[in-house]
Amino acid sequence: MLKEAYSGSIKYMQILDEEGNVDQSIPLDDIDNEKIIRMYKLMVFARAVDSKVLSLQRQGRMATYGPCIGEEATQIGAAIAMNPNDIFVPNFRQHALYLARGMPLENFLLYWKGYEEGNIPAAKINGMPVIVPVGTQMQHAVGLAFAQKQRKTGNAVVAYVGDGGTSEGDFYEAMNFAGVMKVPVILIIENNGWAISVPRSRQSAAETLAQKAIAAGIPGVQVDGNDVFAVYKAVSEAIRNSKDGAFVIECITYRMSMHTTSDDPTKYRSEADVNEWKARDPILRLRKYLSKHGLWNDDMESKMNEEYAKLIDAAVEKEEAFKPDPRSMFNSVYSFIPQVLQEEMDDAEANNYWR
């Protein structure tokens, strides 16, 4: 006997095209004008923050930083779709998501200057801290989702991983657990085409990354990650259905800037490649939509920019007033202070090793 044991396919969704036109065949659900303007403003804000951090970094006022320029829709679509009590689990490039969820900007800046104190308010906005070891956070997301289910909170967990991160064993294992445990988790693959210098094509021989979900027995979809409407729709649907189990959403976007401030992308990709994606900019296309529908004008744009510039400057000022306390390195390791740590801390303080 020879029969088909399994067949599957992955759908791709785009609602808002590069020219700002909407595909009428796909219902916008609850995307109203108020939401659309909110999406736009949050995306612009994230980009303004990115460019500010990059300029501070060049002046030596920030540590290494990886901007999310070009990837805003992939994050803002989800941020707007999430309920306040839903939990988000980022990797390290989800700046727009953090800010949209209400991370105080001065804390955001503080983290990227190199201080753990920046992570403190994440808990208040139901977010996890920045996670640097790629892909490892996906398992936490599954555990968090299991806890939501067990404790009947009704909350969903939304986790992010990059295209590179989907190659890690941790990612596959997380997906597999999510399938078996049937937990309310939405695993978002922020496929920005690159993992430092390694292109998506060298990351996996699979045609889509979303199809990895099929092997874990959970549904997956691919969306245009530069289309904030499509991201919103996919994530809201997944959250709505999260009682039935996990969901994988691959967002196709593009890392328009360097990997981090330590990276030189000219070593491995061409300007032409980047330019092609500039035309697909998520902010640009939403702006086109807004103009077409008379929802936005240059006056509003310049007012917004002014407001953001002020807001950002004020946050930088606050952040720069922060005085690190080296004792916090010792006090926060355990729920108590072991004698060894106490002695090391006292020794450093008494002998003035902290300068």
Binding site: A63, T64, F92, Y111, K113, G114, Y115, E116, V130, V132, P133, V134, G135, T136, G164, G165, S167, E168, G169, D170, A195, I196, S197, V198, R202, Q203, S204, S262, D263, K267, Y268, P324, P326, M329, F330, V333, V340, L341, E344, M345, A348, N351, N352, Y353, W354, R355
Partner: protein, 317 residues
């Protein structure tokens, strides 16, 4: 040190076509620190391989390659990410030889950047040498200068054992040193007495070697400085001889103190030379806390002042 390592790997690739380099961003990008820069262009993408992002697979596949007769030099982008491949290292790298009673050995090197001082993000400044040394069956080396880096890399590949090759990021571009052209080896398992002295022995390695040298020369103390170069297996003879000679021992490393290499060295000295000591052994190391984010780095890393105070203290006994 980047140039010296690049040169060593270049020579090894040229010498033996079974040598392959693999890791994240090692090809076109030449590695995030440029240690493998230009090598893919020179030897092709079958010899210098950009892998998908998966440390366990980089190490596990390297093990398979070595079992299949190749000689892999795997790069793990930062030591902080090597933990994702820790199972492969501990379960297999360290014991394949003994499991097969020597009939299958792993001629491979796992290179990875270690240590702080470059203001990198969390997980980019780890010093995990004690973990690998404690595994038994692994060779663990950590050079403190370009000359040793090149010679140790060549020795590591010429040796039929798995080598964990730790490269201090701080030293990658810190100073220039004349390094001879062509192949040469620096013996693995042999410490280097960088400076002879009679009043005090300072045992150190990696980045701390430079700082210790500076402090000792500024203070003008008659100290003997031993640079381990190989952490495991430990060059016990050089250490014990020096301890007996000076009667005072200080151990300086960047990794945290608790359960570290310093503890091992001091136990060995206590076992073999305690009656020849005139003062308790002192360790200068990072505190026993996780490596902090870069903003706190200066408060965390052992600095010249801490080393200098310890020298005063041990000489005053």
């Amino acid at each position: 040190m980047v140039t010296a390592l690049n040169n060593a790997i270049d020579l090894l690739l040229k010498e033996d076509e079974n040598v392959v380099v693999l890791g994240e961003d090692v090809g076109k990008d030449g590695g995030v620190f440029r240690v493998t820069d230009g090598l893919q262009a020179k030897y092709g993408d079958n010899r210098v391989i950009d892998t998908p992002l998966a440390e366990s697979a980089i190490i596990g596949t390297s093990i398979g390659m070595a079992l299949g007769g190749l000689k892999p030099i795997a790069e793990i982008q930062f030591a902080g990410f090597m933990y994702l491949g820790f199972g492969q290292i501990i379960n297999h790298c360290s014991r394949y030889r003994t499991r097969t009673r020597g009939t299958r050995s792993l001629n491979m090197v796992i290179r990875t950047p270690v240590g702080g001082g470059i203001r990198a993000l969390e997980h980019h400044s780890e010093n995990p040498e004690a973990l690998y040394a404690h595994a038994n069956g692994l060779i663990v080396v950590e050079p403190s200068n370009p000359y040793d880096a090149k010679g140790l890399m060549i020795s590591a590949m010429h040796m039929n054992d798995p080598v964990i090759f730790l490269e201090p990021t701080k030293l990658y571009r810190l100073f220039k040193q004349e390094v001879q052209d062509g192949m040469y080896e620096v013996e693995i398992g042999k410490a280097n007495v960088v400076k002879e002295g009679s009043k005090l022995s300072i045992i150190t390695y990696g980045t701390m070697t430079r700082i210790v040298e500076d402090v000792v020369s500024k203070k003008n103390v008659d100290a003997e400085i031993v640079d381990l170069r190989t952490i495991s297996p430990l060059d016990e003879k050089t250490i014990i001889d020096s301890a007996k000679k000076t009667g005072r021992v200080m151990i300086v490393h960047e990794a945290s103190a608790s359960f570290g290499v310093g503890a091992e060295i001091s136990a060995r000295i206590a076992e073999k030379a305690i009656f020849e000591l005139q003062a308790p052994i002192l360790r200068v190391a990072s505190p026993s806390i996780p490596v902090p984010c870069p903003g706190y780095e200066d408060y965390y890393l052992p600095n010249a002042k801490k080393i200098s105070n310890a020298i005063d203290k041990i000489l005053s006994v």
